[in-house]
Protein backbone atom coordinates (compact mmCIF):
# COMPACT_ATOMS: atom_id res chain seq x y z
CA UNK A 1 0.00 0.00 0.00
CA UNK A 2 1.21 3.44 -0.94
CA UNK A 3 1.19 5.73 2.09
CA UNK A 4 0.19 9.34 1.54
CA UNK A 5 0.72 10.23 5.18
CA UNK A 6 2.92 13.29 5.66
CA UNK A 7 3.67 16.04 8.15
CA UNK A 8 1.72 19.29 8.05
CA UNK A 9 4.88 21.17 6.97
CA UNK A 10 5.19 18.95 3.89
CA UNK A 11 1.49 19.14 3.03
CA UNK A 12 1.34 22.95 3.00
CA UNK A 13 4.08 22.92 0.34
CA UNK A 14 1.47 21.45 -2.02
CA UNK A 15 -0.31 24.83 -2.16
CA UNK A 16 1.32 27.25 -4.61
CA UNK A 17 1.02 31.02 -5.05
CA UNK A 18 -1.97 31.79 -7.25
CA UNK A 19 -3.71 28.44 -6.68
CA UNK A 20 -7.47 28.18 -6.52
CA UNK A 21 -8.37 26.52 -3.23
CA UNK A 22 -11.49 25.23 -1.54
CA UNK A 23 -11.89 24.09 2.05
CA UNK A 24 -14.18 21.81 4.04
CA UNK A 25 -17.04 22.89 6.25
CA UNK A 26 -19.10 26.07 6.46
CA UNK A 27 -19.34 29.11 8.74
CA UNK A 28 -17.74 28.08 12.06
CA UNK A 29 -17.91 24.33 11.44
CA UNK A 30 -15.25 21.81 10.38
CA UNK A 31 -12.89 24.29 8.70
CA UNK A 32 -9.39 22.81 8.25
CA UNK A 33 -7.94 25.36 10.69
CA UNK A 34 -4.69 23.57 11.59
CA UNK A 35 -3.83 23.51 7.89
CA UNK A 36 -4.89 27.12 7.43
CA UNK A 37 -2.68 28.28 10.31
CA UNK A 38 0.24 26.29 8.86
CA UNK A 39 -0.41 27.88 5.47
CA UNK A 40 -0.46 31.36 7.03
CA UNK A 41 2.85 30.57 8.73
CA UNK A 42 4.36 29.49 5.43
CA UNK A 43 2.83 32.46 3.64
CA UNK A 44 1.56 31.75 0.14
CA UNK A 45 -0.22 34.53 -1.70
CA UNK A 46 -2.74 35.40 -4.42
CA UNK A 47 -5.04 32.49 -3.62
CA UNK A 48 -8.36 32.25 -5.46
CA UNK A 49 -10.70 31.09 -2.72
CA UNK A 50 -13.73 29.09 -3.91
CA UNK A 51 -16.48 27.92 -1.57
CA UNK A 52 -20.20 28.03 -0.86
CA UNK A 53 -20.66 29.46 2.64
CA UNK A 54 -17.30 29.97 4.31
CA UNK A 55 -16.74 31.88 7.53
CA UNK A 56 -13.94 31.59 10.04
CA UNK A 57 -11.29 29.91 7.86
CA UNK A 58 -11.72 32.53 5.16
CA UNK A 59 -11.45 35.39 7.70
CA UNK A 60 -8.07 34.04 8.85
CA UNK A 61 -6.81 33.72 5.26
CA UNK A 62 -8.01 37.25 4.48
CA UNK A 63 -6.56 38.75 7.66
CA UNK A 64 -3.07 37.49 6.79
CA UNK A 65 -3.27 38.58 3.16
CA UNK A 66 -3.20 35.19 1.41
CA UNK A 67 -6.21 35.80 -0.83
CA UNK A 68 -6.54 37.77 -4.07
CA UNK A 69 -10.01 36.74 -5.19
CA UNK A 70 -13.15 35.08 -3.85
CA UNK A 71 -15.86 33.04 -5.50
CA UNK A 72 -18.38 32.34 -2.76
CA UNK A 73 -22.13 32.57 -2.21
CA UNK A 74 -21.83 34.19 1.24
CA UNK A 75 -19.37 34.74 4.03
CA UNK A 76 -20.70 34.95 7.55
CA UNK A 77 -19.80 34.36 11.17
CA UNK A 78 -23.53 34.45 11.90
CA UNK A 79 -24.33 35.65 15.42
CA UNK A 80 -20.71 36.70 16.01
CA UNK A 81 -20.43 38.85 12.93
CA UNK A 82 -23.10 38.78 10.30
CA UNK A 83 -20.75 40.39 7.77
CA UNK A 84 -17.23 39.29 8.72
CA UNK A 85 -15.00 42.31 9.13
CA UNK A 86 -11.96 41.42 7.06
CA UNK A 87 -14.24 40.21 4.29
CA UNK A 88 -16.20 43.47 4.31
CA UNK A 89 -13.20 45.78 4.64
CA UNK A 90 -11.03 44.13 1.97
CA UNK A 91 -13.82 44.09 -0.59
CA UNK A 92 -14.93 47.63 0.13
CA UNK A 93 -11.31 48.75 -0.14
CA UNK A 94 -10.87 46.67 -3.29
CA UNK A 95 -7.96 44.71 -1.90
CA UNK A 96 -9.80 41.53 -2.77
CA UNK A 97 -12.00 40.87 -5.80
CA UNK A 98 -15.24 38.94 -5.38
CA UNK A 99 -17.34 36.92 -7.80
CA UNK A 100 -20.57 36.27 -5.91
CA UNK A 101 -21.98 32.82 -6.48
CA UNK A 102 -25.33 31.34 -5.45
CA UNK A 103 -25.57 28.01 -3.62
CA UNK A 104 -27.38 26.02 -6.29
CA UNK A 105 -24.97 27.20 -8.97
CA UNK A 106 -21.95 26.46 -6.82
CA UNK A 107 -23.28 22.94 -6.26
CA UNK A 108 -23.91 22.50 -10.00
CA UNK A 109 -20.39 23.69 -10.83
CA UNK A 110 -18.61 21.58 -8.24
CA UNK A 111 -20.69 18.55 -9.24
CA UNK A 112 -19.76 19.08 -12.90
CA UNK A 113 -16.13 19.34 -11.82
CA UNK A 114 -16.35 16.19 -9.78
CA UNK A 115 -18.04 14.21 -12.56
CA UNK A 116 -15.55 15.30 -15.23
CA UNK A 117 -18.18 16.95 -17.42
CA UNK A 118 -17.79 20.46 -18.85
CA UNK A 119 -20.92 22.07 -17.36
CA UNK A 120 -24.18 21.42 -15.55
CA UNK A 121 -27.56 23.14 -15.75
CA UNK A 122 -29.15 24.73 -12.68
CA UNK A 123 -32.69 25.95 -12.19
CA UNK A 124 -33.77 29.32 -10.81
CA UNK A 125 -31.38 32.31 -10.92
CA UNK A 126 -32.80 33.92 -14.09
CA UNK A 127 -33.46 37.58 -13.31
CA UNK A 128 -30.57 37.88 -10.85
CA UNK A 129 -27.91 40.51 -11.58
CA UNK A 130 -25.36 37.79 -10.80
CA UNK A 131 -25.99 36.41 -14.28
CA UNK A 132 -24.25 39.43 -15.85
CA UNK A 133 -21.17 39.10 -13.62
CA UNK A 134 -20.83 35.40 -14.39
CA UNK A 135 -21.42 35.77 -18.11
CA UNK A 136 -18.67 38.41 -18.13
CA UNK A 137 -16.42 36.03 -16.17
CA UNK A 138 -17.22 33.11 -18.51
CA UNK A 139 -18.47 30.93 -15.65
CA UNK A 140 -22.20 30.79 -16.56
CA UNK A 141 -24.17 30.89 -19.78
CA UNK A 142 -27.92 31.22 -20.24
CA UNK A 143 -29.14 28.87 -22.99
CA UNK A 144 -32.39 27.44 -24.21
CA UNK A 145 -32.83 23.88 -22.93
CA UNK A 146 -32.64 21.94 -26.22
CA UNK A 147 -35.30 19.50 -24.98
CA UNK A 148 -37.92 21.97 -23.72
CA UNK A 149 -36.90 25.32 -25.20
CA UNK A 150 -36.97 26.95 -21.75
CA UNK A 151 -34.23 29.30 -20.62
CA UNK A 152 -31.77 27.78 -18.19
CA UNK A 153 -28.41 28.66 -16.65
CA UNK A 154 -25.41 26.42 -17.41
CA UNK A 155 -22.59 26.50 -14.89
CA UNK A 156 -19.10 25.70 -16.14
CA UNK A 157 -17.32 22.95 -14.18
CA UNK A 158 -15.45 24.14 -11.10
CA UNK A 159 -12.09 22.36 -10.65
CA UNK A 160 -10.06 23.98 -7.87
CA UNK A 161 -6.31 23.39 -7.81
CA UNK A 162 -6.43 22.25 -4.19
CA UNK A 163 -9.11 21.04 -1.78
CA UNK A 164 -8.31 20.87 1.93
CA UNK A 165 -10.78 18.67 3.76
CA UNK A 166 -10.81 18.06 7.49
CA UNK A 167 -12.30 14.66 8.35
CA UNK A 168 -12.95 12.45 11.34
CA UNK A 169 -11.01 9.41 10.19
CA UNK A 170 -8.66 8.61 7.32
CA UNK A 171 -6.33 5.80 6.37
CA UNK A 172 -2.89 6.17 4.81
CA UNK A 173 -4.27 5.78 1.28
CA UNK A 174 -6.60 8.72 1.83
CA UNK A 175 -9.88 6.87 2.28
CA UNK A 176 -11.75 9.24 4.59
CA UNK A 177 -14.87 9.33 6.71
CA UNK A 178 -16.79 12.41 7.74
CA UNK A 179 -19.39 12.04 10.49
CA UNK A 180 -22.40 14.33 10.73
CA UNK A 181 -22.98 17.05 8.14
CA UNK A 182 -21.06 16.60 4.89
CA UNK A 183 -21.84 19.81 2.98
CA UNK A 184 -20.26 19.53 -0.52
CA UNK A 185 -17.00 18.08 0.77
CA UNK A 186 -17.24 14.89 -1.28
CA UNK A 187 -17.76 16.95 -4.44
CA UNK A 188 -14.96 19.37 -3.50
CA UNK A 189 -12.52 16.48 -3.15
CA UNK A 190 -13.62 14.81 -6.38
CA UNK A 191 -13.44 18.06 -8.36
CA UNK A 192 -10.00 19.26 -7.22
CA UNK A 193 -6.64 18.58 -8.81
CA UNK A 194 -4.93 18.00 -5.46
CA UNK A 195 -6.72 16.85 -2.32
CA UNK A 196 -5.25 17.25 1.15
CA UNK A 197 -7.00 15.35 3.92
CA UNK A 198 -6.41 16.44 7.50
CA UNK A 199 -7.82 13.92 9.96
CA UNK A 200 -8.61 13.79 13.64
CA UNK A 201 -7.63 10.13 13.60
CA UNK A 202 -5.60 7.81 11.34
CA UNK A 203 -7.20 4.38 11.03
CA UNK A 204 -6.12 1.18 9.27
CA UNK A 205 -7.42 0.58 5.75
CA UNK A 206 -9.54 -2.28 7.08
CA UNK A 207 -11.74 0.33 8.78
CA UNK A 208 -13.26 0.98 5.35
CA UNK A 209 -13.67 -2.63 4.21
CA UNK A 210 -17.13 -3.39 2.90
CA UNK A 211 -18.35 0.20 2.82
CA UNK A 212 -17.96 3.40 0.89
CA UNK A 213 -15.69 6.03 2.41
CA UNK A 214 -17.04 9.60 2.28
CA UNK A 215 -13.98 10.31 0.11
CA UNK A 216 -12.18 7.48 -1.70
CA UNK A 217 -8.39 7.33 -1.47
CA UNK A 218 -8.26 7.41 -5.28
CA UNK A 219 -8.87 11.17 -5.11
CA UNK A 220 -6.38 12.01 -2.38
CA UNK A 221 -2.87 13.49 -2.66
CA UNK A 222 -1.85 13.81 1.00
CA UNK A 223 -3.05 12.74 4.44
CA UNK A 224 -2.08 14.67 7.57
CA UNK A 225 -2.86 13.66 11.13
CA UNK A 226 -4.34 16.76 12.77
CA UNK A 227 -5.89 16.16 16.16
CA UNK A 228 -8.23 19.07 17.02
CA UNK A 229 -7.48 20.20 13.47
CA UNK A 230 -10.72 22.19 13.13
CA UNK A 231 -10.35 24.31 16.28
CA UNK A 232 -11.72 26.86 17.00
CA UNK A 233 -14.41 25.77 14.53
CA UNK A 234 -16.55 22.78 15.50
CA UNK A 235 -15.92 19.11 14.74
CA UNK A 236 -18.94 16.87 15.12
CA UNK A 237 -19.17 14.76 17.25
CA UNK A 238 -15.87 15.50 19.01
CA UNK A 239 -16.01 19.18 19.91
CA UNK A 240 -18.19 22.25 19.58
CA UNK A 241 -16.93 25.57 18.20
CA UNK A 242 -14.79 27.41 20.73
CA UNK A 243 -16.89 30.55 21.09
CA UNK A 244 -14.37 32.34 23.30
CA UNK A 245 -11.53 31.91 20.83
CA UNK A 246 -13.78 33.14 18.01
CA UNK A 247 -14.69 36.26 20.00
CA UNK A 248 -11.01 36.78 20.85
CA UNK A 249 -10.11 36.62 17.15
CA UNK A 250 -12.81 39.13 16.31
CA UNK A 251 -11.66 41.53 19.03
CA UNK A 252 -8.15 41.64 17.56
CA UNK A 253 -9.35 43.04 14.27
Amino acid sequence: MESKLMRMEEAVELVKNGDSVTISGISIHRNPMAFIYALVKRGVKDLYFIDREPGFGLEVLLKYGLVRKLRIAMSTLEWFSSIPRHFRKMIEEREVEMLEDTCGAFIAGIRAGSFGIPFMPVKGIIGSDLVKMHEREGTWKVIEDPFSGEKIVLVKAINPDVAIIHVNKADEEGNAEILGPLYEDEYKAKASKKVIITAEEIVPRSYFYGRRPTINGEYVTAVVHALKGAEPTSMFPYYDADYEKIIEFLEHF
Binding site: S75, C103, I107, V122, S128, P181, F236
Partner: protein, 245 residues
Protein backbone atom coordinates in the same frame (compact mmCIF):
# COMPACT_ATOMS: atom_id res chain seq x y z
CA UNK B 1 -41.88 37.85 30.66
CA UNK B 2 -39.52 40.12 28.76
CA UNK B 3 -40.14 40.14 25.02
CA UNK B 4 -38.15 41.46 22.06
CA UNK B 5 -39.50 42.79 18.78
CA UNK B 6 -37.83 39.81 17.11
CA UNK B 7 -40.24 37.61 19.08
CA UNK B 8 -43.13 39.08 17.09
CA UNK B 9 -41.25 38.33 13.89
CA UNK B 10 -40.76 34.76 15.10
CA UNK B 11 -44.45 34.40 15.90
CA UNK B 12 -45.45 35.93 12.57
CA UNK B 13 -43.21 33.54 10.65
CA UNK B 14 -44.55 30.55 12.54
CA UNK B 15 -48.13 31.47 11.58
CA UNK B 16 -47.16 31.35 7.88
CA UNK B 17 -46.14 27.68 8.02
CA UNK B 18 -48.68 25.03 7.11
CA UNK B 19 -49.24 21.31 7.44
CA UNK B 20 -47.28 19.15 5.04
CA UNK B 21 -44.55 21.65 4.32
CA UNK B 22 -40.86 20.85 4.00
CA UNK B 23 -38.96 23.89 5.30
CA UNK B 24 -35.27 24.74 4.95
CA UNK B 25 -33.30 26.90 7.40
CA UNK B 26 -30.07 28.51 6.28
CA UNK B 27 -27.15 30.13 8.08
CA UNK B 28 -27.53 33.21 10.26
CA UNK B 29 -31.26 32.69 10.48
CA UNK B 30 -32.27 32.79 14.15
CA UNK B 31 -35.87 34.01 13.67
CA UNK B 32 -36.75 31.33 11.13
CA UNK B 33 -35.12 28.59 13.19
CA UNK B 34 -37.11 29.40 16.32
CA UNK B 35 -40.27 30.04 14.30
CA UNK B 36 -40.12 26.67 12.55
CA UNK B 37 -39.70 24.69 15.76
CA UNK B 38 -42.47 26.77 17.31
CA UNK B 39 -44.80 25.95 14.42
CA UNK B 40 -43.99 22.26 14.67
CA UNK B 41 -43.69 21.74 18.41
CA UNK B 42 -45.91 24.40 19.98
CA UNK B 43 -48.61 24.67 17.33
CA UNK B 44 -48.43 21.04 16.19
CA UNK B 45 -48.15 21.85 12.50
CA UNK B 46 -47.08 18.80 10.53
CA UNK B 47 -44.01 20.30 8.93
CA UNK B 48 -40.58 18.76 8.37
CA UNK B 49 -37.55 20.89 9.19
CA UNK B 50 -34.29 20.53 7.28
CA UNK B 51 -31.51 23.02 6.61
CA UNK B 52 -27.86 23.93 6.40
CA UNK B 53 -27.22 22.04 9.65
CA UNK B 54 -28.09 18.97 7.51
CA UNK B 55 -30.33 17.43 10.17
CA UNK B 56 -33.49 15.68 8.99
CA UNK B 57 -36.32 17.00 11.13
CA UNK B 58 -34.32 17.06 14.38
CA UNK B 59 -35.85 16.90 17.81
CA UNK B 60 -36.18 20.30 19.42
CA UNK B 61 -32.80 21.99 19.66
CA UNK B 62 -31.29 24.79 21.70
CA UNK B 63 -30.32 27.99 19.94
CA UNK B 64 -26.57 28.51 19.61
CA UNK B 65 -24.64 31.22 17.75
CA UNK B 66 -24.90 29.22 14.51
CA UNK B 67 -28.14 28.10 12.92
CA UNK B 68 -25.96 25.56 11.09
CA UNK B 69 -24.95 23.88 14.35
CA UNK B 70 -23.87 20.34 13.37
CA UNK B 71 -24.91 18.98 16.74
CA UNK B 72 -28.52 19.17 15.53
CA UNK B 73 -27.80 15.76 13.94
CA UNK B 74 -27.18 14.14 17.30
CA UNK B 75 -30.79 12.99 17.24
CA UNK B 76 -31.50 13.09 13.51
CA UNK B 77 -30.32 11.43 10.31
CA UNK B 78 -28.16 13.64 8.10
CA UNK B 79 -29.73 15.04 4.92
CA UNK B 80 -27.24 17.08 2.96
CA UNK B 81 -27.83 20.58 1.62
CA UNK B 82 -27.27 19.46 -1.97
CA UNK B 83 -30.17 17.01 -1.54
CA UNK B 84 -32.36 19.75 -0.05
CA UNK B 85 -31.58 22.05 -2.95
CA UNK B 86 -32.34 19.24 -5.39
CA UNK B 87 -35.82 19.20 -3.82
CA UNK B 88 -36.04 22.89 -4.71
CA UNK B 89 -35.16 22.11 -8.33
CA UNK B 90 -37.94 19.49 -8.36
CA UNK B 91 -40.48 21.96 -6.98
CA UNK B 92 -40.66 19.96 -3.73
CA UNK B 93 -39.13 22.44 -1.31
CA UNK B 94 -42.06 24.22 0.26
CA UNK B 95 -40.58 26.98 2.37
CA UNK B 96 -37.31 28.91 2.28
CA UNK B 97 -36.37 31.81 4.57
CA UNK B 98 -34.11 34.64 3.43
CA UNK B 99 -32.97 37.75 5.30
CA UNK B 100 -32.31 40.43 2.66
CA UNK B 101 -31.01 43.91 3.42
CA UNK B 102 -33.27 45.35 0.71
CA UNK B 103 -36.57 44.16 -0.77
CA UNK B 104 -38.36 46.05 -3.52
CA UNK B 105 -41.80 46.34 -5.02
CA UNK B 106 -41.13 43.66 -7.66
CA UNK B 107 -39.93 40.96 -5.19
CA UNK B 108 -36.32 41.68 -6.05
CA UNK B 109 -34.04 41.27 -3.04
CA UNK B 110 -30.51 42.41 -2.26
CA UNK B 111 -27.99 40.68 -0.03
CA UNK B 112 -24.98 41.57 -2.16
CA UNK B 113 -24.02 45.20 -1.65
CA UNK B 114 -25.22 48.76 -1.08
CA UNK B 115 -24.13 51.21 -3.75
CA UNK B 116 -24.44 51.51 -7.48
CA UNK B 117 -21.37 49.64 -8.68
CA UNK B 118 -20.97 45.93 -7.94
CA UNK B 119 -17.20 46.27 -8.30
CA UNK B 120 -17.00 49.22 -5.88
CA UNK B 121 -19.60 48.71 -3.13
CA UNK B 122 -20.36 51.34 -0.53
CA UNK B 123 -21.29 48.58 1.89
CA UNK B 124 -20.40 44.96 1.21
CA UNK B 125 -23.14 42.64 2.46
CA UNK B 126 -22.51 38.96 3.31
CA UNK B 127 -23.73 37.70 -0.08
CA UNK B 128 -26.96 36.10 -1.20
CA UNK B 129 -26.13 32.49 -0.28
CA UNK B 130 -28.92 30.47 -1.91
CA UNK B 131 -31.06 33.53 -2.77
CA UNK B 132 -30.72 33.81 -6.56
CA UNK B 133 -31.19 30.08 -6.95
CA UNK B 134 -33.92 29.38 -4.47
CA UNK B 135 -36.10 32.49 -4.22
CA UNK B 136 -37.95 31.60 -7.44
CA UNK B 137 -37.93 27.83 -6.77
CA UNK B 138 -39.33 27.43 -3.26
CA UNK B 139 -43.11 27.28 -3.20
CA UNK B 140 -43.23 29.83 -0.40
CA UNK B 141 -40.46 32.34 0.22
CA UNK B 142 -40.45 34.08 3.58
CA UNK B 143 -38.24 37.17 3.59
CA UNK B 144 -37.49 38.56 7.02
CA UNK B 145 -36.01 41.91 7.90
CA UNK B 146 -35.71 43.33 11.40
CA UNK B 147 -35.25 46.96 10.35
CA UNK B 148 -38.40 47.94 8.47
CA UNK B 149 -37.59 51.32 6.92
CA UNK B 150 -37.52 53.16 3.60
CA UNK B 151 -33.90 51.99 3.31
CA UNK B 152 -34.79 48.32 3.52
CA UNK B 153 -38.22 48.16 1.82
CA UNK B 154 -37.25 50.14 -1.24
CA UNK B 155 -38.69 51.07 -4.60
CA UNK B 156 -35.78 49.40 -6.41
CA UNK B 157 -32.97 47.40 -4.86
CA UNK B 158 -29.36 48.49 -5.48
CA UNK B 159 -28.51 45.04 -6.79
CA UNK B 160 -30.84 42.18 -7.71
CA UNK B 161 -29.30 39.28 -5.81
CA UNK B 162 -32.41 37.28 -6.60
CA UNK B 163 -36.00 37.70 -7.64
CA UNK B 164 -39.35 35.93 -7.56
CA UNK B 165 -40.58 38.09 -10.45
CA UNK B 166 -40.46 35.26 -12.98
CA UNK B 167 -41.84 32.69 -10.55
CA UNK B 168 -45.39 31.98 -9.51
CA UNK B 169 -44.64 31.19 -5.89
CA UNK B 170 -45.89 32.82 -2.70
CA UNK B 171 -43.70 35.56 -1.25
CA UNK B 172 -44.04 37.10 2.21
CA UNK B 173 -42.07 39.80 3.99
CA UNK B 174 -41.99 39.63 7.77
CA UNK B 175 -40.54 42.63 9.55
CA UNK B 176 -40.53 44.30 12.95
CA UNK B 177 -43.68 46.15 11.82
CA UNK B 178 -45.78 43.37 10.28
CA UNK B 179 -46.34 40.91 7.48
CA UNK B 180 -46.65 41.77 3.79
CA UNK B 181 -47.82 39.32 1.13
CA UNK B 182 -47.07 39.74 -2.56
CA UNK B 183 -50.17 39.57 -4.72
CA UNK B 184 -49.41 38.21 -8.19
CA UNK B 185 -52.64 39.56 -9.66
CA UNK B 186 -52.13 43.27 -9.02
CA UNK B 187 -48.35 42.85 -8.53
CA UNK B 188 -48.52 44.76 -5.26
CA UNK B 189 -47.55 44.08 -1.68
CA UNK B 190 -50.54 43.79 0.66
CA UNK B 191 -50.40 44.23 4.41
CA UNK B 192 -51.44 40.95 5.93
CA UNK B 193 -50.59 41.20 9.61
CA UNK B 194 -49.61 43.77 12.22
CA UNK B 195 -48.47 43.72 15.84
CA UNK B 196 -50.04 45.51 18.83
CA UNK B 197 -47.43 48.28 18.49
CA UNK B 198 -47.68 48.73 14.71
CA UNK B 199 -50.35 49.81 12.25
CA UNK B 200 -51.06 50.15 8.54
CA UNK B 201 -50.06 53.82 8.77
CA UNK B 202 -46.76 53.04 10.45
CA UNK B 203 -45.96 50.45 7.79
CA UNK B 204 -46.77 52.87 4.97
CA UNK B 205 -44.69 55.59 6.61
CA UNK B 206 -41.67 53.29 6.69
CA UNK B 207 -42.01 51.69 3.26
CA UNK B 208 -40.68 53.17 0.05
CA UNK B 209 -43.14 51.28 -2.19
CA UNK B 210 -46.93 51.15 -2.20
CA UNK B 211 -48.54 48.86 0.39
CA UNK B 212 -52.17 47.85 -0.16
CA UNK B 213 -54.54 47.46 2.72
CA UNK B 214 -56.81 44.48 3.24
CA UNK B 215 -60.21 44.86 4.86
CA UNK B 216 -58.64 43.76 8.08
CA UNK B 217 -55.12 42.77 8.96
CA UNK B 218 -54.48 39.90 11.28
CA UNK B 219 -53.28 41.03 14.68
CA UNK B 220 -50.25 38.99 15.61
CA UNK B 221 -49.66 38.98 19.33
CA UNK B 222 -47.52 36.98 21.70
CA UNK B 223 -49.01 34.74 24.36
CA UNK B 224 -47.20 33.69 27.49
CA UNK B 225 -46.88 30.26 25.99
CA UNK B 226 -45.20 31.69 22.92
CA UNK B 227 -42.74 33.58 25.07
CA UNK B 228 -42.05 30.58 27.23
CA UNK B 229 -41.37 28.47 24.15
CA UNK B 230 -39.04 31.08 22.68
CA UNK B 231 -37.15 31.57 25.94
CA UNK B 232 -36.81 27.84 26.43
CA UNK B 233 -35.28 27.53 23.01
CA UNK B 234 -33.02 30.54 23.50
CA UNK B 235 -31.95 30.29 27.14
CA UNK B 236 -28.94 32.58 26.57
CA UNK B 237 -31.02 35.35 24.94
CA UNK B 238 -28.86 35.25 21.82
CA UNK B 239 -31.72 36.79 19.88
CA UNK B 240 -31.42 39.98 21.92
CA UNK B 241 -28.36 40.83 19.80
CA UNK B 242 -30.72 41.18 16.82
CA UNK B 243 -32.85 43.68 18.71
CA UNK B 244 -33.58 46.92 16.91
CA UNK B 245 -36.55 48.52 18.67
Amino acid sequence: MKSYSVDYVIKAISTLLEDGELVYIGLNSIPSLIASFMARDLYGKKIRIIGVAEASNPSRVLLSPSTGNPFFVEAAPVIITADAFDFAQKGKLDVMFLGPAQIDEETNVNLTMIGNDYYNPKVKLPGGAATAFILPLSKKAILWNLKHSKRSLVKKVDFITGTAKFSNNKVFVVTNLGVLAYNREDRKWHLEGIYPFSSYEKVVENTDFEVKRKDSERLIDLTNEDLRFINDMDPYNLRSALETL
